[in-house]
Subunit: 374 residues, 2 copies
């Protein structure tokens, strides 16, 4: 940063959403523009400016690319002219998303790993490595630095803080342990099992002494599940004509915990195969995000018949556990107890395609974009 004194305007590449999307999105809905950013914090404010190093591509972002008829769990991305309309949604947003509306208009936002380059906040110093919700751009003015977590293990790859040590990691950990309430010997099924969350759920389940089967969308991914992540069994769901029968084969005793990221027909087949008192932590339903007509799940009655507990969770509710989680997971990584695979796209120009690739299953492992190296 020697050449960019505080207060200087620098070029700032950023990714914007050009228009809202229905159905399957295309990378063309986004555009990479170059504007400028000020590296100075407004006088007297407690904001900070961060340099974005790694940004995360996450399936839930699909919802933000659609114009909502009614408020959704996160607001849609703002195109600019829609600012006024969007104000009325404010109270429904979870905090980290609320703040960014005012500073990142027209720029996509999501979790990222950042370095502080200017700060008016006493807890955040220039040079600090942090992660939180930032812009899909090179530099971001953060008006609420408190929403960022400090990075305590920079000796591990920093990109891990978009995944195994970040939002997906905390999601897997909280969903599996707090909602799934596993016991040794439980039968666990994980869908989207090679993705950012799934690969961790499977390994946490193995560490807990469970029997774990994962599904994924290619033989390459199935191979990863069995040979890298230590799942007991794995299958390519695209090769299975009757998922109900497939699950019956892998789980003759039934499923105790289904970690749900997929929804639709997969959920339907799983419900037929759950055991009494089974648990379904649900963190996403990626199979449904691009459908204009959602799949109707016809056997929800199984929730009654088998006394199932299905519970949704969002990572925000577990933020208070983050540093505890970070220590535990960093320990597993250093001891080699958890393996982790990521799929890194290089440069903001690749970000739109990387995001869309999540929905075709192009990525192998956690998808992220390297914006800059530290």
């Amino acid at each position: 940063m020697a050449s960019t004194a505080a207060g200087e305007e620098v070029p700032n590449k950023r990714v914007v959403l050009k228009h809202y999307v229905t159905g399957f999105p295309s990378a063309d809905a986004m555009e990479v523009l170059t504007g400028t950013a000020s590296l100075a914090v407004p006088p007297g404010s407690s904001a900070m400016v961060v340099k974005n190093l790694y940004i995360s591509c996450d399936p839930y972002m699909r919802d933000r690319m659609t114009k909502h008829e009614r408020p959704s769990y996160v607001p849609e991305f703002v195109l600019g002219e829609d600012l006024i309309t969007n104000l009325c949604y404010k109270s429904l947003w979870p905090p980290p998303f609320r703040w960014y509306k005012f500073i990142c208009l027209q720029t996509l936002v999501n979790f990222g790993v950042c370095k502080v380059t200017a700060s008016g906040h006493s807890d955040y110093k220039v040079g600090d490595l942090v992660w939180g919700v930032t812009g899909w751009e090179e530099y971001t003015l953060v008006t609420e630095p408190e929403s960022f977590f400090k990075i305590h293990h920079p000796e591990l790859p920093l990109s891990y803080y978009t995944g195994v040590l970040g939002m997906p990691g905390l999601t897997a950990w909280a969903g599996f342990f707090q909602v799934g309430k596993p016991k040794k010997g439980d039968y666990v099924f994980v869908s989207a099992a090679s993705g950012a969350v799934g690969q961790l759920v499977g390994q946490l389940a193995k560490l807990t002494g469970c029997y774990v089967v994962g599904s994924a969308g290619s033989d390459e991914k199935v191979n990863l599940l069995k040979n890298k992540f230590g799942f007991d069994e794995a299958f390519n769901y695209k090769k299975e004509a009757d998922l109900d029968a497939t699950l019956r084969r892998y789980f003759p005793e039934g499923i105790d915990i289904y970690f749900e990221s997929v929804g639709g027909p997969t959920l339907e087949a799983v419900l037929e195969n759950m055991r009494p008192h089974g648990r379904i932590p649900a963190v996403g339903m990626i199979s449904q995000y691009n459908l204009e007509e959602k799949h109707g799940v016809r056997n929800i009655f199984q929730v009654v018949a088998k006394r199932l507990r299905m519970e949704g969770l969002l990572v925000f509710d577990y933020y208070s556990d983050y540093y505890k989680f970070e220590e535990e997971m960093a320990g597993y990584l250093k001891e080699g107890k958890i393996s982790y695979v990521e799929d890194i796209a290089e440069g903001l120009e690749e970000a739109p395609a990387a995001l869309i690739g999540l929905f075709t299953g192009r990525n192998v492992g956690k998808q992220l974009v390297a914006v800059a190296r530290v």
Copy 2:
């Protein structure tokens, strides 16, 4: 019982299922036959013979009238010739249903209020009033008397032990308090609200300081909800063209607890109107029982987006709480804090029509059949 000495054979009217049913059932699927029953307990056994006083008609019985392709949560009723096929299901059945297969072949079984007329069991004496799973007949040989609860409040109407003091009452109490985890001020929606379970849930919610809205299928029932059971609001769902909009009107702030007995399009509309962290105790889905093609619920993703907890329960899991519940509920009834409406059909001959009436909503309040007075 003076005229029927132990060991005597007496005429025994009973209700049998003639054939399995698909789609909407008709009373013709059942038949009332007269056979004989022995009033003696087999020598050396710990069985008991009971005289059935009141038998309960409950929606879940519909499932037992269908031949299951795969084991369901309760076994189908046995037609007689199907005995061998049914044996393989045994391990899946909850205990009270398992025992009866062997003694009530061809006779329908369900919860009822009974008087002990002969007993080989030291805990059950002739003249005891009990409730449990018994036959749809005049006299039943009970091989596992331990599955019956003693009746501690015979000063209240005995028929109440098929409802407010029996299985539906415990279901409402456990579902609302243990699964729903209500807080004062919560917004509560109850479907099938004038039924055996719903009328109690609404009143327990009012006692807890919640705001309660109920739906039912006739203006007469809506009137009961508002003027007898003290619901804050109630509506006739048959008069509402757009249930989503109706719920938005009654719950502008959204729903914290939805007590689910209906399923299908109602569940779908409710999911749109739940508040974050809402709870859905699910005890039945009566709208779906007679459909050959079940309604597909298209917005299960709301479970994730709103971090909902949907949890099924069956009353068996709460049997250990029964006597605590009985005392609490008997107290409410005596203090006039809980009102209760039942719909009593007279005589076993009326039992088939009374059961079918549940699915057309003919009953007003808890449906039961008086077999004999004590």
